[in-house]
Amino acid sequence: MVDGEVARSVGNGNESETTILLDAVTKRFGDYVAVEHADFSIARSEFFSMLGPSGCGKTTTLRMIAGFETPTSGRILLEGRDVSNTPPYKRDVNTVFQNYALFPHMSIFDNVAFGLRTAKVPAAEVRTRVMEMLEVVRLPDMADRRPNQLSGGQQQRIALARALVNHPAALLLDEPLGALDLKLRQVMQLELKRIQRDVGITFVFVTHDQEEALTMSDRIAVMTQGRVDQIGTPTEIYHTPSTPFVAGFIGTANLLPVTVVSQSGDDVTVETRLGGQCTVSAAGTTYAAGSEVTLMVRPERLVPAGAPLHGAGSGASIRATVTSMVFQGPVVRCQVRTSAGADLVAHLGPEDDPGSFPVGSEMEMTWSHDGAYLVPEPIAPDEAGVTSMEDDQTAA
């Protein structure tokens, strides 16, 4: 599997290059399995994200690394040392909490100095390190203020400074941008990435926002229902998802249930439910003939037949009826329905001449040979079609 290989390639190196190692970690609350067999490592200075919908176990995993929860089974290693049962105050990690949890009765300076003073760092050094850190988060003039005198974005930076000033082995961030508005969130995403590069500390970032994870992360662990579905770089996760869930959770994906017909080298021929056949790259995997898998085509790779293909080689085509055409600025979101009843979405550019396909008209959609990807897991026929987080959100 793709994710297993990536995880191993990172974990394999020198042991000191691994900051955090989760060794078969499972967490149960009564009968409820919050995290099931989490087994991965996080490298030094890596920006690692845990991404998934609410209730997928990402926050529980983070809280186990922080020490607020104890694994039911398995081990957590921090810098090679087993910390599974170590209380939070003895762990060399610091957390940026979702609600910031700044101490309301202390000045900003005292908030940031809190960890250093607890560690009995000399007062003069506390002063220089706190002021340095306030420079890093670009709020040097706020030292004497109280937390409630700061805006949400400023409090966010102070929470970051309060954690980072201790030079932890890893910084844990629990949906830290969730409470900010979109504009500020985008600014803070870039800020976080800059600060992470500047201080070189391992960041473990929990979010349900796939765009946020793609923007900042070196690697992403996509989680659902307590399991880690895939770990990989943003590119790997987007282009070669290992499960239909990952495909739909990261961006928008058109998913079709297909059956493997034959394989020759790297080319796999699959058959759709409508009887059409096409050839897809197997990306190093061997498929048995007759196995049920899922064909994924991203909306930007789905184009009207006859239009220039976004990619090399010819794939296959599918006939469908246009059900909606929505102008979204850079692209036109074109939704079509196949005769099997699956809804597909294509993002058409001006070169595709979207105006020539009125709603209700029939059109032929196609994709290039490398514009499609085989997800090595089956999908139920009624789940066929377009899936994306946006759809989930409107449904919920």
Partner: protein, 292 residues
Amino acid sequence: MAAATTDDTGLRRGRFAPYGLLSPGIIWLLVFFLVPVVMLVRASLSTKPSRFAEPVFSWDFSNYGSALSEYSDEFIRSFLYAGTATVLAILIGYPLAYWIATCGGRWKNFLIGLVVVPFFTSYLIRTIAWTSILQDDGVVTGLYRLLPWVGSDGRILATPMAVIGGLTYNFISFMILPIYVSLEKIDFRLTEAAADLGCTPWRAFRKVVLPLSLPGIFAGSLLVFIPAAGDYLNARYLGSPQTSMIGTVVQNKFLVQFDYPQAAALSLVLMVIITVLVLIYSKFLGTEGLAV
């Protein structure tokens, strides 16, 4: 024009609304606080020609002199007992309030209800009930006599211990409720943040929870100390002549000896001393405690 007029009255009504809302309180304070205080000051500066004669206003400051010289023991005892009862109420009430606020879960309101339940019985009856609990041949005193340093004739009733115990018991709810309210408001994720920053649970409590609950301790202390310092029922029923407090004296002067001038002077001295103590206390705890 019409619109402008309505706007104008609306504005005027808006401007006077705060005073309208305040007026019941102001009238109440005028009638039941300011007027009595003025009458008390007047009485304290009066003289009584004979026991049953009406007091005559005469700028007589000697009442204050004798208040301080003759009753200094009672004053000292009052503040000592009230202070001890306040400290005991904090020591007993804080852990209880903390436990209810953190572990009470869905039983919180029920548990706080239990704290208030004693108020359903009259203060006087509860105090008198203590006399039978602490009586010399009772179980409590019997157990007390088993202590190695207490003789077989040791007593609880009619000792300072009984008076302080009674004061603590009678006023402890006034300590628990404000502390509970201030603890309830604390976001306990802050203690997680403190633990994350290296604090042991005890240090997290001292650095985060305790400072944030100071307003509750402050309010509770005032609510216990002030009535306890002026109390006479506990000293009267649970104590002895050797444990009399200033309230006992005032009650005796007013209702038994009809010595209004002396009683008024004693009351005013008590009021001034309490005010000064409260001001010192609020300085010590930080005035911010009142604002939060």
